[in-house]
């Protein structure tokens, strides 16, 4: 019979390292996507640099870099926090703020203001 391990609510001030890495990586990946989107609008040089593929345009660079940063951050923080349980609140706060900035940076009315 399988035993279900229980974790009391009082213990939830900490989060498993890999889960924390996933949370933080999402915030970082989204933030990088928003940042690159805004920078590409503000600078022709950045826009040209991000054109990894001529048919796709600058979106190719933005998405390839953001996805690579997401998986890279996931790997790095999972290794750093392997077998550890970082405090939940700071991980959640930083991830949430970065995610919000990512949503803001990918919103046209915001990033087009830098054109």
């Amino acid at each position: 019979m399988t035993t279900v391990e229980t974790t009391g609510a009082s213990q939830e001030t900490r989060i498993e390292g890999t889960a924390a890495a996933a949370l933080l990586a999402t915030g970082i990946g989204a933030f990088v996507l928003g940042l690159l989107t805004t920078l590409a609008e503000a600078s022709t040089g950045t826009k040209d640099f991000l054109q990894f593929n001529d048919r796709v345009g600058p979106l190719s660079g933005k998405t390839v870099i953001a996805a690579a940063v997401y998986f890279g951050a996931l790997l790095v923080f999972a290794l750093i926090w392997r077998g550890r349980q970082p405090a939940l609140k700071p991980v959640l706060t930083v991830s949430g703020v970065l995610l919000l900035l990512g949503f803001l940076g990918t919103f046209p009315i915001f990033f087009q203001a830098f054109a």
Binding site: V4, E16, A22, L23, T26, S60, T63, P108
Partner: protein, 190 residues
């Protein structure tokens, strides 16, 4: 009845992969929300967790496949510069984009069929960027489910975090999906 190559890939991107992600959401959310030790037997929690793990990973893969096919296969056809610098002349008298002479992007920006410019400058610009946040959120929600497995039933705070990420992934994909459907209605990729 036949589909062009472009219509086929538009179908795979939007109707097959994208719709799978959006339709599977309700099942995943209900499963995760009700994963509580008070409501389920131990065997029930084990079975539910297995199902959630498979479901969440399937949705994460579908989300990545949706944005990859959208960005690298369908989007280049959407954004081709076919009409030249004078879009109004290049797309003149058209009610829909014309393959080879006026791409969907050219057509929308030309305003030859009403005030369509905002479909590109706001709609497509938002869709093409925000869509990429959905697979990150979906993958991370799947990772949280895999890491905690049965313990999620007794970890309400972590379960709420996973649910929030899952809902955000859905909302993000829904914005992209709805805009994609509306843009396709005005200016289909053919």
């Amino acid at each position: 009845m036949e589909l062009s190559n472009r219509e086929f890939w538009g179908l795979i991107h939007g109707l097959v992969l994208g719709s799978f992600f959006l339709l599977a959401f309700a099942g995943g959310l209900a499963g995760l929300y009700s994963l509580r030790s008070r409501w389920l037997t131990e065997e029930g929690i084990v079975e539910r967790t297995r199902r959630l793990t498979v479901g969440f990973w399937a949705m994460a893969v579908a989300a990545w496949a949706t944005v990859i096919t959208g960005t690298w296969i369908v989007y280049p056809w959407y954004r081709e510069k076919l009409a030249g610098d004078d879009l109004a002349a290049g797309c003149a008298d058209l009610a829909l984009p014309r393959p080879g002479s006026c791409s969907p992007r050219d057509f929308l920006l030309s305003n030859v069929s009403g005030d369509t410019e905002s479909w590109h400058t706001f709609g497509m610009e938002w869709k093409e960027h925000i869509a990429w946040i959905a697979p990150m959120l979906a993958t991370s929600a799947a990772i949280v489910v895999v890491v905690y497995r049965q313990r999620l039933a007794d970890a309400p705070r972590v379960r709420r975090i996973a649910i929030t990420m899952f809902i955000l992934a859905f909302a993000t994909a829904a914005v992209a999906g709805i805009l994609g459907a509306l843009i396709t209605k005005v200016a289909p990729v053919k």
